[in-house]
Symmetry: C2
Subunit: 478 residues, 2 copies
């Protein structure tokens, strides 16, 4: 499928159309927004078979996974519709006037939140439905009152176009202007740069590679007027196995982890890339069971040839790093179109800490086992990771000073801390936090999954001594 590289005139047309509708959409009613979100969910449901078929052709993710991704996307669009209707996202705080001079006296102040304006939304390759044209970023921006210009991902152009055509039909059917949701295409970074630098764009939502993300982030920051850039750039998602967790349970946990690693062929932002465990016979058992489980794993081709290329390069760098032992070697076919084989490697805590190359994410089915000798070393390893979407703790169910220390360390470097289980599978709910310190996120206070994702596009504004006509409108979209 040929990718159209949009010209700057075409980018300008899409952004200008979004700008023209921005004021109206910012003032649209909750009902109008909820109806659009539900209409989009309904049309995805109605065209499910076609979309899964087109998506599988382009991504090799398979119909089971793509159907479940579609379920998630539909659930999410409907969830944002409900969230707009219940109005919590537009919650207001109000401080009545107090007579007298400051600091004791004060004017009447009402704090509202206003939509930013057109959002540039960069689709991800690895969730061609849930983080693409009508994914969570688009849903949350529309719900917040912002038009969206989608940068389609070149990994699934046909699916993007199918979904975009359905989107346009819903807009027309509901009597909404086409400019509310636009789309541009581009194979390289130029179209994305043009979008991020366009003066009409008010914020950027990005999920993708560290390299592409930091480049676009720099462009957002070097505009004459920098704008918020919400980027999710990569994560190693450490799993920490405390000794009690592995006792009598090493094999089962290894199989659970193997399934998490295999999910989506490891092309998942929350894929577990690092396991931290104490040097012990249990650790040996865990390692053997993990190797056995992954040796026979079925994998599928990666999302794009360049991802396979980068995976092979990442593995080559990993196993060539001093102090790293290979536990399960992949097959270095150097064929960018072949299915990758899972890779497991092992190193010591001290080696991990000193070798910065080991802190980088290898996107795909790869995992590095870090053997530690002490709680201190666990803390040092997590601090060396520095920023991650998740940290998973196994064996932290019972309170102790060590458990508290590891838990606190985990909350310092991650946006989500799991007690048991595996990091893949991110619930769409109000309390979700999908984001974390750099490089997990460029804006670690924000989440790109869950209903708090709307907060990214609603800026607080204090109204001082608002007149009666405005007070009447407060709490409604404005």
């Amino acid at each position: 499928m040929k990718i159209n590289d949009y010209t700057s005139d075409q980018i300008d047309a899409a952004v200008s159309a979004a700008e023209n509708i921005a004021n109206d959409w910012a003032q649209s009613s909750r009902e109008t927004r909820a109806r659009l979100l539900r209409g989009l969910a309904d049309v995805l449901q109605a065209r499910r078979d076609k979309l899964v078929c087109v998506g599988d052709d382009e991504t090799s993710l398979g119909s089971v996974r793509l159907n479940s991704e579609l379920d998630r996307t539909i659930f999410q669009l409907r969830g944002f519709a409900e969230h707009v209707e219940d109005g919590n996202a537009f919650a207001v705080s109000d401080d009545p006037a107090i007579a007298g001079a400051p600091p004791l006296g004060r004017p009447h102040l009402t704090r509202v939140r206003v939509p930013l304006g057109p959002v540039a939304m960069f689709s991800a390759s690895n969730f061609p439905i849930a983080f693409s044209v009508l994914g969570g970023d688009t849903a949350s921006a529309l719900a917040a009152g912002c038009p969206v210009v989608v940068k389609a991902h070149p990994g699934h152009p046909q699916l993007s176009r199918e979904v975009f055509e359905l989107t346009k039909a819903v807009l027309t059917q509901q009597g909404l202007p086409e400019g509310l949701i636009g789309m541009v295409e581009g194979a390289g970074i130029e179209v994305g740069v043009g979008l991020v630098r366009h003066p009409g764009i008010a914020a950027v939502a990005f999920t993708g590679s560290f390299k592409g993300g930091t480049a676009l982030w720099s462009h957002a920051n070097s505009r004459p007027r920098p704008i918020p850039f919400y980027g999710e750039l990569g994560s190693t998602n450490p799993v920490v196995a405390l000794p009690s967790a592995l006792t009598g349970n090493a094999e089962e946990l290894a199989r659970t982890l193997a399934a998490s690693m295999e999910f989506g062929c490891g092309q998942i932002c929350t894929s577990p890339g690092l396991v931290v465990l104490f040097e012990s016979a249990d650790a040996d058992r865990f390692e053997s069971a993990l190797r056995d489980a992954l040796q026979s794993a079925k994998t599928h081709t990666m999302l794009t040839p360049s991802m396979k290329h980068n995976f092979d390069a990442g593995i080559a760098r990993l196993v060539a790093t001093p102090g790293v032992q290979t536990v399960l070697a992949g097959e270095s076919t150097n064929d960018d179109h072949a299915s990758p084989r899972p890779v497991i490697a092992r190193t010591s805590a001290q080696n991990f800490i000193s070798e910065h190359a080991l802190h980088e994410e290898v996107f795909g089915p790869a995992c590095l086992l870090v053997r530690v000798q002490s709680i201190d070393e666990i803390v040092e390893v997590l601090n060396a990771v520095g920023g991650s979407l998740t940290v998973t703790l196994w064996g932290a169910e019972v309170d102790s000073p060590d458990v508290r220390r590891i838990t606190r360390c985990a909350t310092q470097i991650a946006g989500r801390v799991l007690f048991g289980g595996v990091p893949t599978g991110v619930a769409v709910t109000a309390s979700q936090q999908h984001g974390g310190p750099w490089p997990a996120s460029t804006q670690p206070f924000s989440t790109s999954v869950g209903y708090a994702a709307m907060d990214r596009f609603l800026r607080p504004v204090a109204l001082q001594n608002p007149p009666a006509w405005l007070i009447e409108r407060v709490g409604q979209p404005c």
Copy 2:
């Protein structure tokens, strides 16, 4: 007063001391934090006369202003103590588990907020008490559970040291480690750069010039691990006079505005630097009255010689811009130690829009009157400003399509929109929003005044299936 340029070893010592206490302070009780904040307020109150005397010697701001600034600072420290005690800042959201697979099923998720770690706090020159050693940034960071390393402002070194000595005494008296609040000094930017780039610093709070602020912001972004940089960099604070406001009221409003311009010799982040008004006889009356009021204004020397230098340069640039008429000329003494004279200039909307030099803030007692012919031109002028801490609307009390349009445009470019009054004087309260789109703030979603300022230092974390021991602690500082 000689400024000590701290060495990198001294900076490292201050940050390391803050790092060492960070975990303990993050887990300190609400009572401990509130006691510290109140202790700091009490000691400022007890040493009021001395501090005002030292401050006036260094800043020329006068005892009336410095006493009221001290009132504000004491009120603010006590306000944050109450805010910590009532616990709203640590509010938690909780989604119970739902059985079944996602998207309908989900694990138990609890969203808490955790303190970031050591905060580098850059004092401002223009509020030597309220935005300095024990100002709002320090108070909000301590309240959030973060240690602070203050970069003292070279404009008031003696006052900074006096306040810092009082701070150390309070820490000792309360049995808290010295490292909780550190201070470094430096005359140039190097010490600040060293602080921002130190790996132990987790966030930066800055109030100051556009030039210094953007330089430090770039350093925060180019660290191996970028960190949140909360910078307030400058603002022109447009005042928009709709025709009805001036009718029969031009002279009174002009005198009110003159007082706001004079306040602190215009060295205030919310000083009104721009007035937008319709071409009319009322506008002429307003202009004359403003000129008359400011002609005889008493001014005092500026905070530092370099500020006077920059003010003179800014005025020279302003009046030399094509299409700008001088209404009230200052006195171009080119003496960096002389008191400045207020300056008023006038230009047309179209000239303002096309001359980018006119969009820059002139820090000091200067105001540019922009004459417009239509509501469209008001919108264009505000959009040319782009980002401001405040926009003040005069004559927006009665609803109309034009009033709604201007109000919406104001909320798009400012963090606070005032209906009547003047922008100087910023209430410390929960609904305050002191921040706005670039260049008003590098993080337009955050506020540096009011209790929401704590949010800058508390990052959301989702706890997935938290064990019983952790659930017991949720909602407490962690």
